[in-house]
Structure formats: C-alpha cells, structure tokens
C-alpha cells in the first residue's frame, strides 16, 4: 500500500513537470469534437476555421475561429513561434504568415468573425472580388480584428 501511494505521488509530481509541450515546428494536434477553444471555450468542430499557434516555450494554443485566435493574442500577448490556419478549400494546415485572409461576409464562423484563409493568393483574390472585399495579410488580421466578431453589423 505504501509503495502504491508512493508511486501515485511520484506520478503526480512527474505530471506537474511534464504538461503542455508540443513540437515547435508543427501545427497543433487537434481532436475535432473534443478539443476546446482557448479563447471562447467552445468545442473545435469545423476544420475550415480551426487555427492555432505554438509559443517559443513549446505551449500550443487551439482555436475554433481565426478571429478568436487574434482576440486571444490581443488579450494575452505571448512570444509566438508559429501560427497555423486551415486553407478554406482543401482544409490542410498552412502557416498563417504565408496565408491570404478574406472576410466574405456570408460565411458564419464559430465565433462570427467570418475570417477564412487560403494558401493560394489567386483563390483569395477571386473570393474577395466576388464579395467586394480586400485580401488581408496575417499582420493586418491581427491588427484589425477587434474583441468582437467582425460580422456583427451593429
């Protein structure tokens, strides 16, 4: 019994020291329908809008909405190693600083920010011109996204 208690106690302290690390150069590992957004607490279900980043300390953050990630970074600035988003078309991970962002205005994202990303500039431009909006860079996205969803009219 004493041995069992010791082992449980040991594993407890080991757990304290071994949490929340991820590979720096890799996108966050997402379990759709199970993982929860670090910003809003909602379940991450839709690959098209899911995003995330890793910090220089190796901590990974996960979000259900690209806008939500921007809000989180505004509220809790951290040293970010790499930011990841999904291509709206093929739904593969892409590095956010190489992506092109659009807010078409008719797409409902989980938190209503309405942001989608493309790896292909031409595709982004086509969508943007169809809806009469501009293509945004990551820098611009992080700048313009406010605390509240972009889609909201009022």
């Amino acid at each position: 019994m004493k041995t069992a208690t010791f082992l449980i106690t040991l594993s407890f302290f080991l757990s304290v020291s071994c949490t929340s690390n991820a590979g720096l150069g890799e996108p966050p590992k997402l379990f759709y329908g199970e993982d929860v957004c670090d910003e809003c607490g909602m379940i991450i279900s839709d690959r098209r809008f899911a995003s995330g980043y890793t910090t220089k300390q190796g901590i990974s953050r996960k979000f259900d909405d690209i806008g939500g990630m921007s809000v989180f970074l505004k509220k809790y600035p951290e040293e970010v190693y790499a930011i990841w988003v999904h291509d709206y078309g093929d739904q593969n991970w892409i590095k956010a600083d190489e992506a092109y962002f659009v807010v078409p205005g008719n797409i409902v994202t989980p938190m209503g920010h309405g942001l989608i990303a493309y790896s292909d500039r031409q595709e982004a431009k086509q969508t943007a011109s169809r809806f009469g909006v501009e293509v945004l860079s990551l820098e611009k996205v992080l700048k313009v996204v406010e605390t509240h969803p972009l889609l909201h009219k009022h």
């Binding site: 106690t9 759709y32 199970e34 909602m42 379940i43 839709d46 509240h148």
Partner: protein, 708 residues
C-alpha cells in the same frame, strides 16, 4: 347497412377528436393519402397551385397527403395542416421558404431537406416578419427553422429532430439571425447541433426541451432577452451566453451537459446578466464565467441557484470581476469553485445585503440560530490551487497524493494557500428556488422526469466529496462492533482550529435499534451527527454495512436519511411541490412520495403552502423527505425541538413505527421524554466524548440517581 356503420364511426371520431366537423366530412369524402387543399379560392390537389391562386390573407387547409417541395410562400397566408400532411423536400434544398410577412405554418410534417451546410438547407426558412411556425414536426431536415431578418416571429410547440449526422455536419434545429422580438416556446428539440440565437434582441426563449445537441442554446448579441423554464439536458453545453446585455436566465433545469467544455451555462463577455433560480445538476462545470461582466459599470448577478453534483460548481477565468452571488446553494460539487490561472481573484461579492450562499462543505456553526454561519466560509485547498495552473492533474483528484498534499497544507500553515473566496454570511441550509416549476411543471413531460432521475443518479455516481477531505484513522476501533451492526463509527474526531470538538468516538448500532445521543447544548452531538453524515470532514471511519463513508460516499449517503433540527422549506411551495422537488433530488419515484404523504398523514395538506404549515406538519414533511430513498438508517438532530407536547408525542409515535418496521435510528436530543419514548440505547456525550454507552433502562436509573 355497412355505410350506416361507417357513417356512425366517422361521427364518433369527429366527436372524439373534437375537430371541426365540416373538415372531417371532407376528409371522409376524399382520399387523405393523396391529400387536397381547401382555400377561399376553391379546392386544389397541388399545394403550389393553391398558393398561386390564393389572395393575401387567405387560409389554406391542407388535408393529408405528401406534398413535394420547395414550397414558396410569398404572400401573407395561413397554411393549416389537418391529418399531418407531409411537406417533403426529397433531400434537396430547403423545404419551405417564406418571404412574406404574417404567415402561419401549422400542423405539418416537414421532412427531408438537403444537407448542404453552405446552402443552409432548412425545413423552414423565413425571411419576413411576424411569421408563426407552430405545431409542426421536423424530420430529417438539416436545419429546422431558420429565421433570417424575421422580427416578431414565433416558433412554438414544434418537435424538431434534425438529420442524424456527425455533430459538426449537423445543422441547427433553430437559427435566429438578426431577428428581434422573437418568441421560441415549448419546442422539443433533440439531437441537433446548436440552437443559434445571434444578433437578435428582446427574445423570449421559454419552456423548451433541448437535448442531445452541442450547445443547447447559443446566444450572441441578444440584449434584453429572457430565457426561462427550459430543460437543457444532455448537451455538450447547456447554454452559452455571449456578448449580450441584460439577459435574464431564470428557472431553467440544466443537467448532464458533459461535453468537452461541459458547461451548464457559459458566460462570455456578458453584462448585467441575471442568473436566477436555476438548477445546475451533474454538469462538468455548473457555470463558467469568462470576462463577464465585460464593461466597467456593469455586473452579473447569481441569485438563488442550486449547483449540485457538478464536477465544478462555478469556474472563473482569470480577472473576472464584479459578479454577485447571493442565496445560491453549492451542494456536493467535487470542487465548489474553481479559478483558472494564477491571476488574483478579486472584487466578486459572495454576500449581498448580508445574505451569502449555502456551502455543503462549510465547517462552522450557527450559535445564534439566525440561519447564517457565525464564521465565514473560506474555500482554500492547496490541491485546488495547484489545479488552477495544471488542470490536467484533475485525474489525481481522489488519490492519496492529493490527500497528503492537503493534509500537509493543514499541518503547515505556512504553505496553506490564501482562500480563493470568502463568504462572510454563509447560509446554514440549502435554499430551494421558489420556481420549482422546473420540476413541478414537468408532469406533462414524462421523458424529462425520467431524465431528471437518471441524470441525478449519474450525478450521484460521480460524487465523492469525502475523498477530498477525509483522513483515515490508522488505529483500529477500540471496541469490536457486533458482526451484524448496521452502523459502525470508529475513532471519529473533529477539530475546529485544532480544538477537538468530537474526540475519538467509536460505537456501533444494530438493525432496528434506536440510539439516542444525550447531552447538553454544545456537548458535540450535532457535530458528531454532521461527521457521521459526511457533511463536515473528520478523521475516523464510518460504515453502514459494507459501505464506507470515506471510500464510497455516494452509496453511503443513499443509505442514510437525515432530519435536521430545522429545515428551510420554501414557503411559497405547497407540500406536494416540495416533495416533488426533493423526489427529483433523491431520485425517488413520485409514487414513493405519495405513499409517504399517506403514511405520515400529510395527504390532506398536499396543497397547503409550506409556509402555512404548523411546526409538527413541517417536521413530518422533513421526515417524509428523509424517507424518500427508503434508507435503512435515519439520523435526526433534535427532531422535536420546536414542537408542542401533543405534536411531539405524535411525531415520536411515527418514529417508533419506523423503528418497528426495521429502520435504524440515531437521534440527538436533550429531552428526557424523547429518549425514554424512543431509544433502546443511549450514548451520553460530554465535551465531545462518549462518557457512557448503556441501555435506556440503565440510563434512566442513572438519571434518577443523578449520576448523569
């Protein structure tokens, strides 16, 4: 002759259904399976033609049949279905599109929309004001009802079951989008994705039953909305309230929402919200608060809610300020309050106008009997502080490691954490919400009553508070109990601020035995009782048969009924409503409560408000509540204190009958006549110790000799 009988049968059906006879005659005359439409413009067999021919304001009566879609309604019409006609989308697009105001759609089965999320294929899509969708059944549609810029509309009395797809690919059973002043009432919604309510003000969401979805209700930008009397059960999250002002969330039953977020209710960026008289039971987190209130001059009020059997009662993200908590009850949550992160938790009020909250883990006393504890409630467990920064350690919650950490913190005040919160005016008794209509009104909802019982059972299964705090005595009991003892207490010790109030008490009780705890006020009887029940943590061991309070508190609790010295019933509830409410909490069938009403002569008082009952009737009601789960052991704390002599005699007679029926009784008393009337054995308690353990006749002799 045969035709005459057929005619009589039709007339009988008409009377039975109480339906407009003229319409039924038409039904009889036509083949319902084909269907037809009667309108002011005549009779039609194709719905689209009837709509084309109709004038503004016409009513179309649709009798049976299956009608293909899309049904496009661009005039202000009323479509009333008889014999449940089907509008069939044939798995393509949206089934019904409404673009004219003041349309009524009632009594249809809306089936088989397409399943494109991008196109938002719906059962009924509305883009006009004042539309009513009422009494319809939705089957196999992606979205159910979609209101898009459709103010003043109503969605009432519908049954909505969307397409059975993986959760992310499902549609929303109801989506309200830029539509102010909408009423959503009495709908049964199962297995959808989210009920979405976005950018719409002054909504009323009332009496709906939402289960099996992702977010039972999801609000964004819904100022001045009222959410009341809904059942939000078995979703991933009961209700998510976001970015809204002055939302009122009242009298809802929120249970078993245990998805990855697992909130009963989640508040994000909410201002001036009022969360009142709700029941949060068996969720992963009863309520979660993130940046709420958001604005400097606003607040959020939690008033009169019950948080029970949740893994976490309320969870705060860092820097949440200016919430007010009053008159809430935190009953047996594994962790009552959790604060994520290490930011200082400040400026939340845990007592408003001198009224705090009930905490089942409160360790204190009420010497002046004003219903409030005389010392503040403080929540401070070292391991819970560790959890704030390492939430994934929750899996160790019941391990010896955790017990040793909390024990170390108690032994070494220098490492004891600062309290997470302090409630200066903790309540001594659970506060029952006045609007227990969330339970009482459920008579029309047999499924949800069943759900309540089921979910509370699940709640009980995850409940194990004793493991958090109880330390186990390494010493064996000093007296070996009889093998057939039903209740065994060994080495029970309780200290307040290192001062022992109960000191190393051991005894056992046989089945059907009644044991009195005799002693003066302050002798430690009530504390001993609270330790036996596990209401307050203590050292030592308590068993009922094979059930150990420390190892198996949930089953242990089921085996004990408790009649406290004074119970705070809600005065506005009647006897039956009170019993119904507690039946839900105790997982007892309604018939058990009814039988107890009869057995305890309370049946004639069923409809009386509890506030109008005499002391004796209140005590009998308290006894009825204690007996709801038919426990083998009954614990009573000064059960006759507030009764006059006649009532006391009657009450003792009831207890004697219970004893004769095989119940084991342990009761605290300082009234000799109670002890002589009821007890087989007496434990004399003095200064927290059992000074004498003797049969009642020896006790009476000792009293006579002034030896006690």
């Amino acid at each position: 002759m045969r035709n005459i009988w057929r005619f009589i049968a039709v007339i009988a059906i008409i009377i039975f259904l109480n339906v407009d006879p003229s319409s039924m005659v038409k039904v009889a005359a036509e083949d319902i399976s084909v269907g037809y439409i009667d309108s002011d413009q005549g009779r039609f067999h194709i719905l689209d033609e009837a709509i084309q021919a109709a004038n503004e304001g016409d009513t179309l009566h649709v009798f049976g049949g299956v009608h293909s879609s899309p049904v496009m309604i661009s005039k202000s019409l009323s479509l009333i279905g008889h014999n449940r006609p089907v509008l069939d989308g044939e798995n393509r697009g949206t089934v019904v599109k409404v673009t004219a105001p003041n349309v009524l759609i009632q009594g249809f089965t809306i089936a088989n929309s397409g399943q494109s999320l991008d196109e938002e294929n719906s059962g009924i899509s509305v883009e006009a004001s004042g539309v009513t969708v009422q009494g319809n059944q939705f089957e196999n549609t992606l979205f159910g009802v979609y209101l898009k810029e459709a103010p003043n509309s109503q969605i009432r009395d519908n049954i909505i079951h969307t397409k059975s797809l993986d959760l992310p690919r499902r549609g929303d059973p109801i989506r309200v989008w830029y539509s102010n002043d909408v009423l959503i009432e009495n709908n049964e919604i199962t297995e959808g994705r989210d009920v979405i309510l976005w950018y719409s003000e002054r909504l009323i969401i009332r009496g709906n039953n939402v289960s099996g979805g992702r977010y039972g209700l999801h609000f964004m930008y819904c100022d001045d909305t009222t959410v009341e009397n809904n059942w939000l059960v078995n979703n991933s999250v009961g209700a998510f309230l976001m970015y809204s002002r002055r939302l009122r969330f009242n009298r809802n039953y929120v249970s078993n929402n245990r998805g990855p977020s697992g909130f009963g209710v989640g508040l994000k960026d909410m201002d001036d919200a009022i969360i009142r008289h709700n029941l949060f039971v068996d969720n992963r987190i009863g309520a979660s608060l993130d940046n709420s209130p958001r604005e400097v001059d606003s607040t959020v009020l939690f008033d009169g809610n019950i948080f029970s059997f949740n893994d976490i009662g309320i969870k705060f993200t860092p820097s949440v300020r200016k919430n007010q908590f009053t008159n809430n009850s935190f009953e047996d949550n594994l962790e009552q309050v959790s604060i994520a992160g290490t930011t200082k938790f400040l400026d939340n009020l845990w007592s408003v106008d001198g009224i705090g909250n009930y905490w089942s883990d409160y360790v204190g006393y009420d010497a002046d009997y004003d219903g409030k504890g005389d010392i503040p409630y403080e929540s401070r467990k070292l391991f819970e502080q560790v959890l704030a920064t390492h939430p994934n350690l929750r899996l160790f919650l019941f391990s010896p490691a955790v017990q040793s950490i909390d024990l170390a913190a108690k032994a070494l005040p220098t490492i004891q954490p600062k309290p997470k919160l302090i409630d200066e005016n903790p309540l001594m008794n659970i506060s029952v919400p006045p609007a227990t209509s969330i339970v009482v009104d459920s008579s029309s909802r047999p499924i949800t009553i069943l759900s309540l019982s089921l979910f509370l059972t699940v709640g009980a299964l995850v409940y194990a508070p004793g493991l958090l705090t109880r330390q186990f005595d390494k010493n064996p009991p000093k007296k070996l109990p009889a093998e057939d003892s039903v209740l065994i207490v060994s080495g029970l010790t309780k200290r307040f601020d290192r001062v022992p109030i109960v000191k190393d008490i051991s005894f056992s009780i046989l089945p059907g035995e009644a044991v009195a705890l005799w002693g003066s006020n302050g002798a430690g009887k009530s504390t001993l009782i609270h330790c036996i029940l596990g209401i307050i943590p203590s050292e030592g061991k308590v068993n009922i048969g094979p059930l150990d309070l420390g190892n198996n508190p949930k089953d242990f609790r089921k085996s004990v009924g408790f009649v406290p010295q004074e119970i705070n019933f809600h005065p506005d509830l009647d006897v039956l409503e009170t019993l119904d409410f507690y039946s839900g909490l105790r997982r007892a069938h309604k018939s058990v409560g009814e039988k107890l009403l009869e057995d305890l002569d309370l049946y004639g008082h069923s409809n009386k408000k509890v506030g109008q009952l005499s002391g004796g009737l209140k005590q009998r009601l308290a006894l009825a509540l204690a007996l709801l789960s038919d426990p083998p052991v009954l614990v009573l704390d000064e059960p006759t204190t507030n009764l006059d002599s006649n009532t006391r005699a009657n009450f003792l007679t009831y207890l004697n009958e219970l004893k004769t029926g095989g119940k084991t009784l342990i009761f605290a008393s300082h009234r000799l006549e109670d002890v002589m009337h009821l007890a087989d054995r007496v434990l004399v308690v003095e200064k927290g110790q059992v000074k004498k353990d003797c049969p009642v006749n020896i006790f009476s002799e000792s009293i006579a000799e002034n030896a006690i």
